[in-house]
């Protein structure tokens, strides 16, 4: 029986009071408890930024990696042991600036890993610079005259990358976020979730999003239709959709590799591999 207490650590929280990261942590822990996933089976990988401290606050296997490399680390873990539940957490700087190049390829591979992005639309840990999702014209410490670049649309981008599961959550609604995490965790394949996560210190968007978000589940959206999903992804104004945009079953990488059948690679006997079987080609 896995409880919320099992998932707590002794580390002291060092996020700002009211930070959107708390909701993500809480919702994720609740999802693990409701799905009864054993902590030793879970590997959480987090990048650099405020979100990265999540590894200190959750009692599972964790890797606090370098900036932008959450997805390749997660890929290696899953290849080595397909029985592990592998979840990557990244900030918007991690996922959409320095590490964006990994997303299309993780989507193409469709390994059974989960990718949760804490999207607060600003660089927070480095004290408030513009990020790829910062709205155009916003003044930050690195853009005192306002940003001149258009923000990217993470959900539309993920859909175009071919992710088999694409969702958006909001830190202002923990219960909904938990349901999204549960659906992602039970999805067979690569799952991407962008979480609108207000930064109370550098960009407090609670009020802004609370007035605008609506739930796709309540709007009768069909998440198996890529065109409808894109249409919803392009909706960003007075109404902002949250929920599952797209979810389809596709063969995963691990299912397609015969060498991964049987026990995880990490558990194979490597004590005396007969490499001489490869010799004939060299004569």
């Amino acid at each position: 029986m896995v409880t919320l207490e099992d998932l707590a650590t002794k580390a002291k929280f060092r996020w700002c009071p009211g930070c959107g990261n708390f909701a993500i942590l809480t919702a994720f822990k609740q999802a693990l408890v409701e799905l009864q996933v054993e902590p030793e089976k879970v590997v959480v990988i987090a990048g650099i930024g405020c979100h990265g401290r999540i590894v200190d606050y959750i009692n599972v296997n964790t890797i606090h990696t370098i900036h932008g490399r959450v997805l390749p680390i997660a890929t290696g873990v899953k290849l080595a042991n397909k029985d592990l539940v592998v979840v990557g957490f990244a900030g918007d700087g991690d996922a959409y600036a320095i590490g964006l190049g990994h997303l299309p390829h993780a989507a193409r591979r469709n390994l059974d890993i989960k990718y949760i992005v804490h999207d607060n639309m600003v660089f927070a840990l480095t004290t408030g610079q513009a990020a790829p999702t910062t709205p155009k014209g916003m003044k930050t410490r690195s853009t005192p005259y306002g940003t001149v670049e258009e923000p990217i649309n993470p959900v539309a981008f993920a859909l175009m990358c071919g992710c088999s599961f694409v969702a958006r959550g909001f830190s202002g609604d923990v219960a909904h976020l938990k349901e999204l995490f549960k659906r992602a965790l039970t999805h067979r394949g690569f799952a991407f979730i962008d979480v609108l996560q207000p930064c109370v210190t550098f960009y407090n968007t609670y009020g802004y999003f609370r007035r605008r978000v609506y739930k796709l589940e309540e709007a009768g959206h069909d998440p198996t239709d890529i065109k409808l999903a894109l249409e919803r992804a392009l909706e960003w104004g007075d109404r902002i959709p949250i929920g599952v945009f797209y979810s389809v079953e596709r063969p995963t990488l691990e299912e397609q590799l015969p060498q991964l059948r049987g026990p995880p690679l990490a558990h194979r006997d490597i004590s005396d591999i007969d490499v001489s079987r490869a010799y004939p080609r060299f004569r």
Binding site: R69, G76, G101, S276
Partner: protein, 574 residues
């Protein structure tokens, strides 16, 4: 008896395949072969050549002089006729038979032969191979057998037919006895393998139990990717070509954290991208094996040419200070055994290990006896799997050796927390000055322990021969230097070769011991600034008398080593 042959032509004429085919025929007949190649970075045109030395004794490198020149185009003759001597022979097609060369000219109507056989023009090379076999009095059936076994359905019978035509043409139209080199089949069905350094690294990784290989294509390391990709299902290995070297090394780190041995392979540019994750592996104490096959830089440099200019880069890449091992094999056999060792060291000491090769070692082929697998054993690190029993698990427990037992995720009662930020024993982020100092000390204790294992003659340093002059080398330069010293010995100069195998931890004590009493210490290396020479002075306190460097992208030749060594010896002390 010995033969040095060179096959040259444009890219796309099958120069490399024909060179390997002929070499294999000699290996199968009992000969030792060392073969190297040169080619520009393009797919069609330019000038490629394959240079091989065939001998009845073990040979460590190619030689400059050429006994048999097989020219698939005019440019090959123009470029390489300077290598010919009075006893040489040159095989050429009728279209450029007007060139003048030293030695015998053997004009073979290769183009007509392929037309007659109804074969594509590229099979001219088969006619040339047949002619070469006739000229050295070798067994055509052995050549045909190699073609049948290795060409894998690519116009096999046409190749054999054209080769036979070339063979018969030479036998009927030339006095083959006028060419002095004759090779006879000594033993059929020999067990020897014909391997490149890249092949040996890949086989070593398989033997070491590697289960995940991730690499982005980059010359001269790509053949490792190709070979492992072919073998992946035979040995249950996942071979992945990800989006970049950034991804490749992080995949390796993730895999090894989860309990599977893993490796990546690249050249200097890719290694530059891996630098941040190299430090990550050092900080997180995750084992990693990186093959760094050097090519001539800086930047894109000469993508297909050799160099030893990344020694300092391998030793110092990435911010901060952390322990790493850097191992430089000097030949194909060492490439195999030291790759196995690299995996063992990485896992036992939980640190990144760099196997430092170069284009010359990576792509040159040698005939070697099958490996002694009892000398290539898997030695696991201190791993915890299944169920952990003990006090609360600490991934970074401070120990006397610096090595903390490594639990594999999935272990009952042990949660593993890796951290690229400085951390406490549990892996929680920590900035306490005492903890920071203790963790740095712990990590470096591992390097001190490894140094004790490595700083020994026969391991970190290997000495060949005896003499008052000591020639210090690292990596692939060993081959031409050993051959060059053999030539010098014939002139009465006694010198020994001292090979530095481990560059980190640096075997300072055994190097000093190996050089003790030497009248003269000379370093030979393929870079401009004498990187090993500087390292010796810095770490071992040994200042070489002379440094012989080369930085034109080409390997050393024994003749060149002999001449340049004779020059510095004659000049006296620097």
């Amino acid at each position: 008896m010995e033969l040095s042959f060179l096959i040259g032509g444009e890219a796309g004429m099958g120069v490399m395949v024909s060179g390997r085919t002929l070499s294999r025929a000699f290996v199968r007949g009992g000969y030792h072969v060392f073969a190297t190649n040169e080619y520009p970075s393009l797919i069609r045109g330019g000038h490629n050549f394959y240079l091989a030395r065939v001998s009845d004794r073990r040979v460590w490198s190619q030689v400059w002089r050429v006994d048999l020149l097989i020219a698939l185009d005019r440019l090959t003759v123009e470029r390489h006729k300077c290598r010919l001597h009075e006893g040489s022979a040159t095989i050429l097609d009728s279209g450029y038979a007007d060139v003048s060369v030293r030695g015998i000219k053997v004009i073979v109507p290769m183009t007509e032969m392929v037309e007659e056989a109804g074969a594509p023009r590229v099979l001219r090379n088969a006619a040339a191979l047949g002619a070469a076999v006739a000229l050295v009095g070798y067994d055509l059936d052995l050549l045909a057998a190699v073609m049948r076994d290795t060409l894998r359905g690519r116009l096999v019978e046409e190749n054999v037919k054209v080769a036979r035509a070339g063979y018969e043409y030479v036998v009927s139209n030339y006095d083959v006895e006028s060419f002095g080199v004759k090779l006879k089949v000594a033993s059929r069905g020999r067990e020897a393998l014909f391997l490149s350094g890249n092949d040996a690294v890949a086989l070593g990784a398989i033997r070491a139990g590697m289960k995940v290989f991730a690499a982005y294509p980059m010359t001269p390391a790509s053949p490792i990717l190709h070979l492992l990709a072919e073998l992946q299902r035979d040995f249950d290995i996942v071979v992945l070509q990800p989006e970049s070297e950034l991804a490749a090394i992080n995949i390796v780190i993730g895999a090894w954290f989860a309990g599977a041995r893993a490796m990546t392979a690249t050249s200097g540019g890719g290694f530059a991208l891996m630098s941040e994750a190299l430090g990550q592996a050092g900080m997180m104490e995750v084992p990693v094996v990186i093959v760094l096959a050097q090519r001539q830089g800086p930047s894109t440099g000469l993508p297909t040419y050799t160099s030893q200019a990344d020694l300092r880069f391998a030793l110092h890449a990435s911010q901060g200070e952390f322990p790493r091992a850097v191992i430089a094999p000097g030949d194909v056999e060492e490439a195999f055994y030291l790759t196995v060792e690299a995996f063992n060291i990485a896992e036992r000491y939980q640190m990144p290990v760099i196997v430092l090769t170069d284009k010359y070692l990576a792509e040159s082929h040698s005939s070697v006896e099958p490996f002694d697998l009892s000398r290539a054993r898997v030695v696991r690190g201190e791993l915890i799997a299944g169920t952990y029993e003990g006090p609360e698990y600490r991934r970074y427990a401070i120990t006397d050796t610096g090595v903390s037992p490594m639990a594999i995720p999935g272990t009952k009662n042990a949660l593993v927390k890796l951290n690229s930020s400085e951390h406490d024993e549990y892996g929680f982020t920590c900035e306490d000055p005492q903890v920071v100092t203790a963790m740095n000390d712990k990590r470096f204790r591992k390097l001190e322990l490894l140094a004790k294992e490595v700083d020994r003659e026969g391991v970190g340093v290997k000495t060949y021969g005896e003499g008052g002059v000591a020639v210090v080398v690292w990596g692939s330069t060993k081959g031409p230097v050993l051959e060059g010293l053999a030539e010098l010995a014939e002139e009465g100069v006694e010198a020994k070769c001292v090979q530095v195998v481990f560059l980190s931890p640096f075997p300072a004590r055994s190097l000093r011991a190996a050089l003790e009493g030497s009248e003269r210490v000379v370093v030979v290396e393929s870079n401009r600034t004498g990187q090993l020479a500087g390292l010796m002075a810095e770490v071992a306190g040994v200042r070489p008398d002379h440094v012989i460097v080369k930085y034109d992208g080409r390997p050393f030749y024994p003749e060149e080593v002999r001449e340049r060594l004779a020059g510095v010896i004659a000049r006296g002390h620097a």
